[in-house]
Symmetry: C2
Subunit: 217 residues, 2 copies
């Protein structure tokens, strides 16, 4: 996890460690990463034994790299370790959002989506968009059951399948194959209407896909 | 309904008529509209007694105008009756999509979304984006139960509320307030990943929103 100290990064890191993956929670500030990992392990104990803190370059040594910073920092973070990302699966989970009164609106980089901008910043990476809409609070509560669907888009078939399997490995999440990286545009842009619903309706909206079954292989 | 002879237009027209609204199914080709209305009434009978055929300009006399053409024609159709749309609620339901191999990708007009392009073509209209993702086949089967959620975006509060109520009036559809018309960008763009899921998974994907309740008023 690059920039994994925020709520969504912590949540994804904890969920992945809890199902047995080795996870490095990286940060520009490794002391902060160590503090967060200490808190998470104090809270959840044994299930997070495979979670360790590190710098972003240390985290970027992993086979699969998740860019978990806030949207503003995602592209720059990818660029800062671009050489290390060559040939690796890189998960982009950020949404560009701005709040305007009682709504959110999307903020789109020139490339069409943050995932595509990360791809441009790290051309050798196999970038896959995923996990944009999973509520951070629900992720971080390991005792709670997740029930959320994840649209997964990326140009490299093997990388996209690996991320779909990684998503499916987290109980309560289901991955759906949404096509090539260009389709990250829709995945990211729909975050604004979805989060606006949270401001204008009771409760907390979660995206679900009904009617779709197994991947055709 | 302008350009209501296609599958989605027929379905929305039939559903709205079946719950008692007076509906004019309009087309550039009024004979085709008459043929379609004849078929629909022959099939479903009495529930469609408030459905009549007409030209697009005749349909545009209604209080609420739905632009139901294919995406390529939506903006031009709005422009062709723009004077008649002044002050009216105009529903944009089109998605710009192109099929590339085993996926769909979105095609976005300069304005950011088809709904915003319709607004630019008919500046006096109160354009509301809605009904983008409801499966046409399910809409058209009046005996079948719908189970689909509809994101609704528009700048005019009264118009948006009216469309939310109109969506809610169709059994099995639920309207969610997704904010101003700019958020049509995400609503339209997510159609490409959603429809790609249909090509790559078993079954037919439908967008649902869980966890969100009543509108806050």
């Amino acid at each position: 996890m690059l920039g994994g100290t925020g709520p969504a990064g912590q949540g994804v890191a904890a969920r992945l460690a809890a199902v047995g993956h080795d996870v490095v929670l990286g940060s520009r500030d490794p002391e902060r990463a160590a503090g967060i990992v200490g808190e998470l392990r104090a809270r959840w104990g044994e299930p997070l034994k495979t979670l360790v803190p590190g710098t972003n370059p240390e985290a970027a040594k992993s086979d699969v790299v998740v860019i978990a910073t806030v949207a503003d920092a995602a592209i720059e973070t990818a660029r800062s370790v671009a050489d290390q990302l060559d040939g690796k699966v890189v998960i982009s989970m950020a949404n560009g959002l701005e709040k305007h009164g009682r709504e959110f609106r999307c903020v789109v980089p020139e490339e069409g989506s943050i995932a595509e901008a990360i791809q441009a910043a790290a051309p050798g990476a196999k970038v896959v968009a995923a996990l944009q809409h999973v509520p951070a609070a629900a992720l971080a509560d390991l005792d709670g059951e997740l029930a959320s669907d994840v649209l997964v888009a990326g140009d490299d078939d093997v990388a996209r399948s690996l991320v779909l399997d990684l998503v499916d490995s987290i109980s309560g999440l289901r991955g759906f194959d949404a096509g090539s990286l260009e389709n990250a545009r829709g995945i990211e842009a729909v975050a604004a209407p979805l989060l606006t619903i949270n401001l204008r309706h009771q409760g907390e909206a979660t995206l679900r896909i009904t009617g779709a079954g197994e991947r055709r292989r």
